[in-house]
Symmetry: C2
């Protein structure tokens, strides 16, 4: 059957080379890397080589990488880790209103413990305006966290400017780059980033491994307390296979990134152009150019996003609708609310994420199938073609 997997932001197959690299670490090289004896040291050495590869992908040093179990854990460690370590200096955080739930909910958790958070609004494209960030900063501000690019709308934030404002004022700057690393080049030093979250799954490593980059000067309270793993910054026996796989995937990503970006961008532009041309009443979300190369996002009028995803899957086409939260309950994504999408329109959100393994044939196949699927769903809709007033939908509780 023909098909197209265009949900690489949700999950991506582990590459053959990565799988080959990790298999020996299950039943053969099984020793615990914290052990002093030879077979433990060998595993430790292999994990450290992987750390160097992950660091190199973002221009960092290996000792600035803490392995975690996911991008979400990295975000929790960054937000809570700085808050608890700098509690005596101040209690104010600034985050954008289009952060991932793991950032938003970490900030909300801290509010129970006498921290305060300013949630910065964004414009219609999802941009955080640097001047607005500058105004939000107070003497007691200890951390600013702005996502590198949203998985929902794809817009790449002006990180250099935003981080620069923090650097001038001596405030720690964190960015969630889970959707970006591997899709677009990022150098933590060029961009003045102090903390950066990334995920192995985004670059073709297995699920269950992530990392937090931290600039050496940044003090962090561990999220997972315990032993001396990760230099005392993250306890628990290391996920050795995940680490080795992340290293291999990062090595491949660094090699391929310069070549694949243009191809991926071309596929994306054909998909966006084709959908706009063939489907009536569709709104593109995020910025038209300043967006992730493989990211295309829309809201379809009078469509229920989950139904769309479900019907597309029957044609072998895999895409996503809004955030994980929005995908489980009929609630509006806070990201789409923040860029001013009407609640009823936000119900019909769809996100296509393309990577280097996709082809133009697949994109053409989507363009062939999608219009009929949308038309069919609209034929069932009680609101399609009617001029209904805006209705109320709960915002997804972040």
């Amino acid at each position: 059957m023909k098909g197209a997997y265009l949900d690489h932001a949700s999950a991506t197959p582990v590459r053959k080379e990565v799988l080959e690299a990790i298999v020996p670490y299950f039943s053969e090289q099984y020793a615990n890397p914290s052990n002093v004896y030879d077979i433990g040291s060998q595993v430790k050495q292999d994990a450290e080589a992987a750390r160097a590869n992950v660091a190199a992908l973002i221009g960092a040093s290996p000792e600035e990488i803490i392995f975690t179990s996911s991008g979400a854990e990295a975000n929790n460690l960054a937000i809570k880790g700085v808050a608890f370590a700098k509690q005596k200096k101040g209690n104010h955080l600034v985050v954008s209103s289009i952060e991932h739930h793991s950032v938003l909910n970490s900030a909300r958790f801290l509010e129970r413990l006498d921290f305060e958070t300013t949630f910065l609004p964004v414009d219609e494209y999802g941009f955080v305006e640097p001047a607005r960030l500058a105004r939000a900063i107070r003497p007691e501000t200890i951390l600013v966290s702005i996502i590198h690019a949203s998985t929902e709308i794809g817009t790449i934030e002006p990180i250099f400017e935003l981080a620069g404002i923090c650097k001038e004022r001596g405030i720690i700057f964190h960015t969630d780059a889970v959707a970006s690393v591997g899709s677009t080049p990022i150098d933590v030093n060029e961009l003045n980033i102090d903390l950066l979250s990334l995920s192995g799954a985004s670059v073709g490593a297995p699920k269950g491994i992530g990392a937090l980059y931290f600039r050496k000067k940044v003090r962090l309270m561990p999220l997972i307390h315990g032993g001396i793993q990760e230099n005392g910054r993250r306890a628990g026996t290391e996920n050795v296979a995940g680490i080795v796989g992340f290293g291999k995937a990062a090595e491949i990503a660094a090699d391929e990134l310069p070549h694949k970006t243009e191809q991926v961008r071309m596929l994306r532009d054909r998909l966006i152009g084709g959908i706009i041309e063939r489907v009536p009443k569709v709104t593109r979300t995020g910025h038209p150019e300043k967006r992730l190369p493989g990211h295309a996002s829309f809201c379809f009028e009078a469509i229920e996003g989950e139904a769309l995803i479900f019907m597309l899957a029957q044609a072998g086409i895999y895409a996503n609708t809004g955030s994980a939260c929005a995908s489980k309950a009929l609630k509006t994504s806070p990201v789409l609310g923040a860029i001013g999408i009407r609640a009823d329109l936000a119900q019909g959100s769809a996100v296509f994420t393309i990577d280097g393994s996709n082809t133009m044939e697949e994109i053409e196949y989507v363009l062939e199938k999608l219009p009929a699927v949308v038309a069919r769903l609209r034929s069932f809709s009680p609101i399609w073609g009617k001029d209904i007033p805006e209705y109320e939908v709960d915002v997804c509780p972040a």
Copy 2:
């Protein structure tokens, strides 16, 4: 070369059947289980089947299992999760003084946030006396955490009695059973346990997966905030291969447990008896009978544990010395301190952990090699054979 891997508490090879079960989840069944479409639902279903197997191993229901990245994360989630959820009810915790660092350090972290912890002393075998626990409980006590069996000394605590005291008083009881699950039968209902931490690696699953059992009534604040994974109790894309592997390993462990225990115990008793017989000036630690079937632990006079482990490895024998912390710094393990082992003697701690894959031949090989290794190290020791006064060693900062 002959050899014996007797460090199963640190790491254990992933079983062939487990490896076969997980390989398809890297490059073929790669979809994100949170996605609504067919290939996502299939992965979700497979992960849920694994959850049922893990639950069955400890007599729990599948909806009472939260997958984590390690036993250490499960311990952090239990301690901090209850503390933050019950903060309005009370601020007092009781833990034993022989807990794993992930419990001790979670409690110490909470002390920074106006929680108080009582660290219960233990007797010479490492037992927590139930009457002492009863006396330590206050009106503001919200959680008691007592390890099921210490990885350092192997003693199995009187969990039924300890948990019963908590049940009578309506206080939540947690046990860290990372070293026990898979080695000895545990039923959370028979033992009145409300929360129990376990690790995949302990039962032959890959590193990087753990779980927390929680009785349905227990409210927990997430440790990792974010999306709706694990019913909102633990955010981050699921480590699908880890989960599937944990399920398969739990299924095998449940089948094998009744048969292997006696064999493992026999090997252990031969090892303990043989070492006592052949090596002078060695102290057995933990209780002689009420201990994990595969666990043998000692302190060798005038020996530096790391040197012993290192020399044994040259003969292909793999064992451990004290805790992970102790294995990185010349400091005394708090567990050995708590059972009254002199600081100088505690330096020479060695732990052998046997599982169903070990043979009597391997044990005899250890008994053949160990006495000479100990004698050789003692021949280098400035204190061997001298009646030196007790000297000061820092206690490992937990």
